[in-house]
Symmetry: C2
Subunit: 478 residues, 2 copies
């Protein structure tokens, strides 16, 4: 797990923070937030908030008081203890893309299948820098809609020994995935003590929490599994076109969702979520990797820290159709602020293409290279008199070179990041080897990784219990 011990890049003044505070307080108290599940309305009414139909007008101080019940940081257990992670503080935890119905491999774009889902599980397991496959790394369109959550959780639980995300399509799905976590971790009490699932709950922005999301949230929160309470904000569509207005809305939506969760189960681990970009005002298309989304992410980190909440955001977002230069500069336009803001839980780290409609094999590999480079860039330098290498200067002198210096020979293996994809061959060698661009190299790498994949071990008894549970539930659902 990566710890970001570099400084945070904070761009909001105290005055700006005060303006945002004014903004979200007015939204929650004067306009209110809609909650489409009756149990949520009842709970908030009982807690003294002002309810009219599905709309709740909040006392902002009560919202803050509830949010203060959430832990600043928490641990998340993986099947293999060495893959346990910590969410919050300096920790940054990385998972794959989430949600795409399509996949792209090379020049072929097609419906995603369960075979693709399994492949992305295997790739996630193969790269140490990824902490999780995430959740819906692609939609297994060839499986039954009613039971594919079981297949996905089963694949993530068996093909990886890292943590994975809960399903949020229905409360029943959530219960199933919680049961799977109980089986592989050794019972309910174990995962209540240290949670094993983290689940994405999106707001139907602006200012509405839908029933299916709320009902899923309820299951996870009652089982003490963290949810990522995430306003879904494409500026110009789901929020105003000014970033301050969008940030105020984001706080209003996230904090009211978090306050609800803390009312359900005080002290339950929770994450302040952000998914903030903008549309193209000419075409209405969503855009990712924009400067505005980068600014939003920097601000979000600062806001979440001021609220003592771990936060989610960023990733390798882009609008590109293929693994071209645009896909990479937009990814960097998001990933660099992801690190600068010290994002705690980073979804969509690897594989995202086409505005999130596509899980791409080549992009997955390329994104891991970017991730690992940034991990090096955000590792503080060791500074001491030895690091000045004065003896190397004495040895090499004027106009010489350091290639064979003793200082170099001692350190050459690990002094610099060693890329596995990035190529610096000269033109002649590059041409001789087939003039492969980074997309072509990525194809070779992901294929090799899948060939070399070794499944992590699992206790036979646990495996049997898991198999039986999944078979039993599938027979009920299909």
């Amino acid at each position: 797990m990566f710890e970001n011990r570099m400084p945070r890049y904070e761009i909001l003044s105290q005055e700006s923070m005060a303006t945002l505070t004014l903004g979200w307080r007015r939204i929650v108290s004067e306009i209110g937030i809609e909650f489409m599940s009756p149990w949520a309305i009842d709970l908030l009414r009982e807690a003294g908030q002002s309810v009219e139909d599905n709309n709740v007008k909040f006392d902002p101080d009560w919202v803050l008081k509830q949010c203060a019940l959430a832990p600043r940081e928490f641990n998340l257990r993986a099947r293999n203890p060495k893959n346990n992670v910590h969410i919050g503080g300096n920790s940054m935890v990385f998972g794959g893309v989430y949600g795409p119905p399509f996949v792209r491999e090379g020049d072929v774009r097609r419906d995603a299948t369960f075979n693709d889902y399994e492949n992305f599980c295997k790739l996630s397991q193969s790269f140490d820098s990824l902490d999780s496959v995430g959740g819906v790394v692609c939609e297994p369109n060839d499986l039954s809609l009613d039971s594919r959550h079981l297949d996905m959780a089963y694949a993530a639980a068996t093909l990886t020994d890292k943590f994975f995300m809960g399903n949020v399509v229905t409360a029943e799905n959530a219960k199933d995935v919680i049961k799977i976590a109980e089986i592989i971790h050794g019972g309910r009490q174990v995962i209540v003590e240290t949670p094993a699932l983290i689940s994405l709950v999106n707001c139907n922005s602006p200012l509405r929490w839908d029933d299916r999301m709320l009902d899923s949230l309820r299951e996870y929160v009652l089982a003490s599994q963290p949810v990522v309470v995430t306003p879904f904000l494409l500026m110009g569509a789901m929020s105003p076109v000014t970033i301050p207005a969008t940030l105020a809305q984001q706080i209003a939506e996230a904090l009211t969702g978090i306050a609800l969760a803390q009312t359900l189960n005080p002290g339950c681990p929770i994450v302040f979520g952000s998914f903030l970009s903008n549309i193209d005002m000419q075409s209405g298309s969503p855009q990712f990797g924009t400067p505005e989304s980068g600014i939003g992410l920097l601000c979000t980190g600062q806001i979440a820290r001021s609220l003592n909440l771990p936060f989610r955001g960023g990733g390798g977002l882009n609008s590109s159709q293929t693994v071209d230069a645009q896909s990479a500069y937009q990814t960097m336009m998001t990933m660099m602020p992801t690190f600068l803001s010290g994002t705690n839980w980073v979804m969509h780290t690897a594989g995202w293409l086409e505005g999130g409609l596509v899980s791409c094999y080549e992009k997955f590999v390329l994104d891991v290279e970017i991730l690992q480079s940034l991990m090096i860039e955000f590792t503080p330098l060791e500074f001491n008199v030895a690091s000045l290498a004065f003896d190397a200067h004495l040895e090499v002198g004027h106009g010489g070179h350091f290639l064979g210096a003793a200082h170099t020979m001692e350190r050459f293996r690990d002094c610099f990041y060693r890329p596995f994809l990035t190529n610096s061959d000269n033109f002649e060698r590059w041409t001789r080897l087939g003039a492969r661009d980074s997309k072509a190299l990525a194809t070779e790498i992901y294929k090799k990784k899948l060939e070399d994949y070794v499944a992590p071990e699992m206790d036979a008894g646990i495996r049997q219990e898991l198999d039986e549970f999944v078979a039993m539930r599938k027979s009920q659902l299909d």
Copy 2:
């Protein structure tokens, strides 16, 4: 000209800065720096430094005293006053790639020609976000080696009305370019008062200033034209493999060059230069856009500011052979720290490919898109109660959309950065329009820009004087 009013991202502690101070002071005083021009040795001896053959051991306090004579900031005049720039402070000034012997257009890589040189001048003129074509935007290999500096300066002076860089191949070349600047700006006194040329002087690192570079430096400095005093550091070859050691060497080399310049002409404008990356320790190839180079750039900015000197660094550096994803993520790995460190003079902003061996048309256009996106990302937000758009929330309410809101309609034209290359078409539209990746789109854009190019006006008398001078000198040199 862009002003970066965002915070600087500084990663060196006071202890680290003190370690670096220890480091460079030991290098200049105990090992010394070689100066291969007799005039430089004489000047430094007269100034009381300890000379043995070509090596000079410095009193570090004297070095600092001389460097303190340099202005913190200065202006640079362009032929068109609206293109004047300021070097230092919050200003960031951007020029094209410098030095490549080859060009790439599409899938063709070939020797660069003067026609290419002119084309890159035209492209630089066409993009408002570029402040200069730079200097040797590519080598015009089809021209005479002895006089091509005249052709290049002539092209930059007539095809653009922006400032351009001086030639540093010989002192004679430098004199010619200074004369060209005098002609187009109205005489020596005008450019002495406000300089018109900025020139790149590289160190033959480690610890040696070569004669041709020094002799060029001398001409520019005596004419009060700023030089960019630049250690040329590929860690592992020209400097040790530890970043602190390389930073100490960079300070030692830059400050001794600057001290020499300030001894020649006290108060002359000058720039602390940085060109810092690393080699691949397996192959020995130079690598660009590495995490180590990003860290180096962040540190360099902090160091230059502590010395009250404007600084140069960064740009769109990468090791890629083609305009692929790697070329873009490496460019961003450099350009983002370029902005985070508030780099004052950014060479190699546009067109760099293949470790600087290639000026690429498509990359040039792509880099301008990246540049413009980052200019937006590094523009502070306007924060006030109006920016919270509370009325828009009242208008849209719960679960609606902001596409037609009054607040949106008032701002939709310029609320977000409007890319000229970045594409967010959906898959169907993208396929219908030819499934062009960003390289293909860049080809179309640069061709259109060249077609649409309009030469800036020039006074007929100045033009005649310039023509005559260049013709006269070419008849002498060829």
